[in-house]
Symmetry: C2
Subunit: 407 residues, 2 copies
């Protein structure tokens, strides 16, 4: 069933690369005066109803927008409204009403049904949205194909840059586009790490297959990144497919299924890596690859455990090839392993082979740790499965950003 | 079965407070030249065989001393040998032989069977012990009642101070003593967080009851502390009971059972809190108490989750009453909860009550966060169970200590 296909990156494009999608953003003043003129309210619109899929935080205290969107996703939708500066979490009934009103405001502007609108928020926990400002601002949003960049900017908080990607996907059955934007695990105000991602395609994708593809892609990418170990109340990934490319319907057995899966994975992988790379105060992107695991779940868990090690992240910041911390994190991960089969590499340096430390050039390893991207490659030598995880390093700047804040 | 009893703290005493225990330490040079004259090899000795209990790391890559001691604990023992500066982890067969030889060296010095010796190590992972230095140093250790303080010093790594505690326990059936020493989650060299604790008593305690009491105490104390989320390869707690106090045997139904349990819990609680307070770079001891849980396990899990939140630790460092991070950590803990029943307090300030933010005096809360000990008190309002967890805050100093190290 696998046809040949080709991906071509569309530089400078994100959520509006796919046909039929428009976006825009405005400054509503949600972050208060000190953030004057920073875009903080974005709107994404599909000219025709789009099938939708979503993945959300598993927090037991999800944000109010998560509650609203979780109930709507899976059906055809027309728009997504999103704000930064206030996460609308732990805000009680008032907060739930406000999340619903955000969808009503977008619907009124667009002349569509509020049930066709998804909503997401990111920012401070425990404060109410300034609804008067949002009511005034929604009508001011101008939608366009070029508005994708503004939309990407409006969702950022302490991100140092926007995160966008788009591809044209050439298949035997014609071409379609897929693109997206994400915001990283930055603290806002500084209050809450979170991630949001919005992905659009003009492929026509069967709803069940759309959700299955998104789940698989998220598990391999967004769920494998770690900035500070904190799971957010607001994590949300939306995928909208409006079918306007004119290529045939994509379903599990269709010729374009593999092309679609691959392109979606590439979009998620790019955005996930950019989030990790841009972790607060980060100097390095750390990739941890674990091979030789007995199952995919164990490979992912082991990679995540190593990538999440606070002391390893600090060591990377200090350019210290401190593989003992890899051993500690692996041992604590709960994953099945046999010390006498374990091998650990850092870049091209083998540090530990089959249960024994290997002498290596520490000075050269230290120089390797100056690279912006560094990789730990671990083999458990127990089975055929492999997975990766990504993290930022832990820097003094991270602590400063998340602490030295006068209330 | 509960008799009345009274605890009296014995200031300045630790592992040798109980009768029949001697200790000592020496400088073996395990940490290398830059740590010259820092005690790094300790020996604890019971003049008569002592029943023993132990709790160990659940790491899948435990240190070689853990493997040796785990097989011996539970039977009568006479001595414990311990070194700092090298954890003897991920060192293959050579490391296992070295751990065994440490017990042989102690046994030869003391004229006892090596099987009666327990061993523990803390420090760098992945390097071999300098056995020549250890062979030369063991005979130089001088044992005495006064040597408990040296023993406590010999187990420290980056701890800023030693951690010791002892009590005289007065019961209707006579009095006994219990005391202990611990090392904190400091990185050595700086390489590996770990904790070790050694507890001695001259009560006569039935072996099965001894292990049960230790397990319960460890679960409520040492297993509820968090410095940086990293579980060590070397975590070890030993409890030795030599029965020389002359008070009757302590077993589950005996008059002194409650006194013994209480005293052991107090020893573990004190040492655990001191470890958290002395976390690397720490400025605050954070206590998190979760009440109203449906089970003890859920109360402990929720308290641990909040105490482990990296972003909350950073907020405490910055004196920011940032309760949104408590919400995020609770939500992510996986514990059963109902947002509309949840209440969160910081010291005397109620921040969130039954699903709604409560206005509070942020400036006064900020001043409260200057205190050396701060407490978050959370009620889930779902059941009768309560538990606490303890943590240090996350400071720029922590990152510096764990990163800026030239290999």
């Amino acid at each position: 069933m696998t046809g040949s296909f080709r991906l071509e990156r569309l530089a400078g494009w994100g959520v509006t690369a796919a046909s039929g999608f428009l976006a825009g953003a405005t400054y509503a003043g949600i972050k208060g005066e000190h953030a004057a003129f920073k875009l903080d309210l974005g709107l994404l619109y599909s000219e025709v109803p789009a099938d939708s899929a979503g993945m959300f935080t598993t927090s037991r205290i999800p944000g109010q927008p998560v509650k609203v969107s979780r109930a709507r996703v899976g059906r055809p939708v027309r728009a997504v409204i999103v704000n930064s500066g206030c996460a609308n979490v732990a805000t009680g009934e008032e907060g739930l009403h406000n999340a619903l009103e955000m969808t009503q405001l977008a619907a009124a502007k667009l002349g569509i049904d509020p049930m066709e609108v998804l909503v997401a928020s990111t920012g401070v926990i425990g404060t109410q949205l300034p609804m008067d400002r949002i009511r005034a601002a929604v009508p001011a949003i101008v939608l366009s194909r070029e508005g994708g960049a503004d939309f990407a900017r409006a969702i950022t908080t302490t991100d140092s840059r926007t995160k966008e990607i788009a591809f044209e996907v050439w298949t035997g059955a014609g071409s379609f586009r897929i693109g997206g934007a994400a915001k990283g695990a930055g603290m806002i105000h500084p209050n809450m790490a979170t991630m949001l991602a919005f992905i659009t395609t003009d492929a026509a994708v069967a709803p069940g297959f759309l959700q299955a593809c998104l789940r698989d892609a998220v598990e391999a990418t967004f769920n494998q990144i770690d900035i500070d170990g904190d799971m957010s109340t607001s994590d949300t990934v939306f995928l909208l497919a409006n079918g306007t490319s004119g290529t045939g319907p994509v379903d599990a057995g269709s010729p374009a299924a593999e092309a679609f899966r691959t392109a979606l994975n590439e979009v998620c992988l790019h955005l996930a890596r950019e989030i990790a790379r841009d972790g607060e105060g980060a100097q390095h992107l750390i990739q941890v690859t674990v091979g030789g695991a007995r199952s995919l779940a164990e490979a992912r868990r082991a990679a995540r455990a190593v990538a999440s090690s606070v002391s390893l992240k600090a060591a990377v910041y200090g350019r210290d090839p401190n593989w003992g911390r890899v051993v500690a994190a692996l041992g604590a991960s709960g994953v099945d392993l046999d010390e006498s089969r374990l091998t650990i590499r850092l870049g091209e340096f083998t540090l530990f082979r089959e249960g024994r430390p290997v002498p290596f050039d520490r000075e050269a390893a230290r120089r390797y740790l100056e690279s912006p991207e560094i990789e730990f490659a671990i083999s458990l030598n127990l089975g055929p499965y492999q997975a990766s995880a990504w993290a930022s390093d832990l820097t003094e700047e991270y602590v400063r950003l998340n602490s030295v804040y006068t209330t």
